[in-house]
């Protein structure tokens, strides 16, 4: 009888440990995202604005540099690891668009650059929405 109670308690103990570990992981992820959010938002704005300026030009002589795209990809990768799960899809799509552009050597194609720009704008809108939700969470 005593061993059965001990077994049940150890199972409950294990479940509590698991719950604490998951909660801690989520908290760590949340606060890292909260801290990095302004910086990543600023970086992505910089890259999308750069792409838009390139598209403003009549002829795309100055093609987008691969370095810029790779830096943008790196910011998106960092964001993907931290952003709430239901916002991940647009981030992945933006990363994919950049990968295709680099692999297919489309860095001077207006269509390809515009496609990346549009995906980045979607990510930026999501980041803006998260920021708004955050304000509400604090004032609650």
């Amino acid at each position: 009888m005593f061993s059965l109670v001990a077994e049940i308690l150890s199972i409950i103990g294990f479940m509590v440990t698991l719950w604490v570990a998951i909660s801690l992981w989520q908290l760590k992820r949340y606060y890292t995202f909260k801290g990095r959010h302004p910086e990543i938002t600023r970086d992505i704005r910089k890259y999308s604005s750069e792409l838009s300026q390139l598209l403003d030009s009549n002829n795309l002589d100055g093609e987008v540099s691969e370095v810029t795209l790779r830096r943008c990809q790196s910011s998106l990768k960092a964001l993907r690891r931290l952003i709430p799960r239901h916002y991940i899809k647009p981030v992945k799509e933006a990363e994919k668009a950049i990968s295709i552009c680099i692999t297919d050597k489309m860095t001077s194609s207006r269509t390809s650059i515009r496609n990346i720009y549009n995906k980045l704008i979607t990510v930026e809108s999501d980041l803006e929405n998260i920021k708004k939700d955050e304000k509400w969470r604090i004032s609650r």
Binding site: S49, S52, Q53, D56, E128
Partner: protein, 122 residues
């Protein structure tokens, strides 16, 4: 598709059309109708017609307050759907791409690139 999604798509489409010079924006220097009844400042607005619909875009400077109630100037970009008389039918909701659209409109309507090319000749 929600209204917000349709609005976002419209802003992106207007930006692409502007960058590819498929839509022409005209300057509006008399902006009194836009700011009537407010303390907002609008120096210049741009108007374009596409498929029978009229759009205007402009930067609005306005006074606001921070959390410590200190007054400061801020700005936002407004994109509106207007009728033939310039009366605003609808304000497009907030969208980060509106800043890029306004920048593209300023460059194209002001023929900035051509002016710089001329200046840099020889």
């Amino acid at each position: 598709m929600t209204l917000q999604e349709k609005s976002d798509k419209t802003v992106k489409k207007l930006l692409a059309l502007t960058q590819d010079r498929l839509i022409e924006w005209q300057k509006i220097t008399d902006t009194r109708a836009i700011t009537r009844g407010t303390n907002d400042v609008v120096d210049l607005a741009y108007k374009a017609e596409f498929k029978g619909d009229n759009f205007i875009i402009y930067e609005v400077r306005y006074q606001t307050m921070d959390e410590e109630e200190r007054v400061y100037w801020d700005s936002r970009v407004n994109l509106d759907l207007v009728d033939d008389n310039g009366v605003i039918i609808w304000h497009f909701p907030s969208n980060i791409a509106k800043w890029d659209l306004l920048e593209a409109v300023r460059i194209k309507a002001g023929n900035v690139e051509e002016k710089l090319d001329d200046f840099l000749k020889d």
